[in-house]
């Protein structure tokens, strides 16, 4: 459980880092759409990859989240 909590906190920190990154000029530079990957504009492919990373972190988070059904049943 303790180890799970550590991983859960790590996931939460990574989500916050991605979230902050998503609103910096690094990800959404004004008026710039190059370099393109497979013809897809820069901000679109970067934010797409970040979104996929968020969903992967949610998947990992769902496995390491310290809350459990037993805990819910107790209430």
């Amino acid at each position: 459980m303790k180890r799970n909590k550590k991983y859960w906190i790590l996931c939460a920190i990574l989500v916050i880092v991605i979230m902050v990154l998503g609103y910096t000029p690094l990800m959404i530079p004004g008026g710039i759409y190059k370099p393109m990957i497979m013809g897809i504009p820069y901000s679109l492919w970067t934010s797409f990859l970040l979104t996929v990373a968020l969903v992967v972190l949610t998947y990992i988070g769902s496995k390491v989240h310290p809350g459990s059904d037993e805990e819910e049943e107790e209430l």
């Binding site: 959404i28 759409y33 013809g39 979104t51």
Partner: protein
Amino acid sequence: MKVWIYIFFGIFFMLLAFASWKSYRRKRSAEEFMLAGKSIGPILGFLTFSAALFSAFTFMGMPDFFRNHGIGAWTFLAFSDGIMVFFILWFGYLLRKKSKEHNFQGVAGLMVSSYGTRWAGVAMFASAFIFLIPYVAIQIRGISIFLEAAFPGMLPSWVWALIMVVMMLVYAEIGGLKAIVYSDAIQGLILLMVIWLIGGTCIAAFGNVPDLFKAVEEVNAELLSTPGPHGLFSWQFLLGSMIAVVMIPVTQPQLTTRLVVVKDLASMKKMAYAVGIFAILVITPTIFIGMYGAVKYPGVPASEFLSQALLFDQAAPVAALAIVGLFAACLSTTNAQIFALGNELRSLLRGEEKRAMRITRISLFFFAGVVMVFSTLMSDELALLARVSFTGTAMMAPIVLMAVIRKNRPPREVILISFLAFITYLLSLAGFVPDHVGTLRLDLALYLYLVIAVLASVLIRKFFRKKEIAN
């Protein structure tokens, strides 16, 4: 095309009838009717949550948003949804714990018992009513205009809207939330299928994805970067939208309720990442439809672009499926939202259960009537109106968050703090309050105020409690 429409509508109505029959119980309790017995599994759970979240607004609003404002629309919705699904893991767990302690009947009712005052529930209900009604109305208007375009001269748009509202009421009355959950699942799957079929056609019109973006570059290169040709997608707008979207499961009762009615925590966790996958799958094709529209239909009104791109430029079976898909999306979303309002009202009512249910059922008709009237007064800006709805209800988020986070009774001044932000936002929409504080957008300024004021309230209480103990 008409033959295909009749075939697909026939299949859709048969599925709805089957769902109603499966959900109907003659002697069911109020909890079975309003909360589906809190026994929804992970697959139905994620489909109903996704369908309530991605509705006609995604199908019609997002392509138009991409067409007019460019690729920043991805960050506006999909990236924000990615953050929201992770947030669900944390918030959903705490919400479910609190719901069991207080025997959840609705968000408003949960707030009443958490804060020990009816004002908390009334404030939540008022915010949901004020911001959900226009949101539901715009969806009904959107689809009725679309149906008018598909069947020119057959019926005026208000009659289409009336048919939909009546169908929605009959369906909800027969099957309750369980039937709505089934219709959400049907709608979610139709939506996903049809949006990819249309997205695929839009790509095929240019050969492939790189050529589609190349064509957009030639027409209007500003669409390929932020803030877009009209400067809408500034970092402030996107950040404000993200906060509003992340707060959707907290403050939009149709979604909060869905986190509670899932049968166990493991199912809710599965639901969270499944919604994230669904979000990526359903928003991606709207990029292609929007970019297609940017090249083929720049500058035309939204209704003209949508009827061309979703109907007349498609093969007959795809266009027919689009009509049925949109109808289904609108039906299940409006159903979910109006039913949620009814449930919120019921959770505020005291006294005998039979009487409370009677009032709730009458209120569903009342809400549907209000939605009908509003649907004749709305504009075409579906995505922006959705954002206004999300932002408006997000102002009340501290009330729910404090109730869910705190083990003891949360400080009551949080109700007043949130309500002040809510009223200020409402006044800004009416033009009585400026929409910027200096260079900061008003919504961001209000979020900042909420964080500072709630933190100050907690710290001041802590300080006085310590002083009291010391004395």
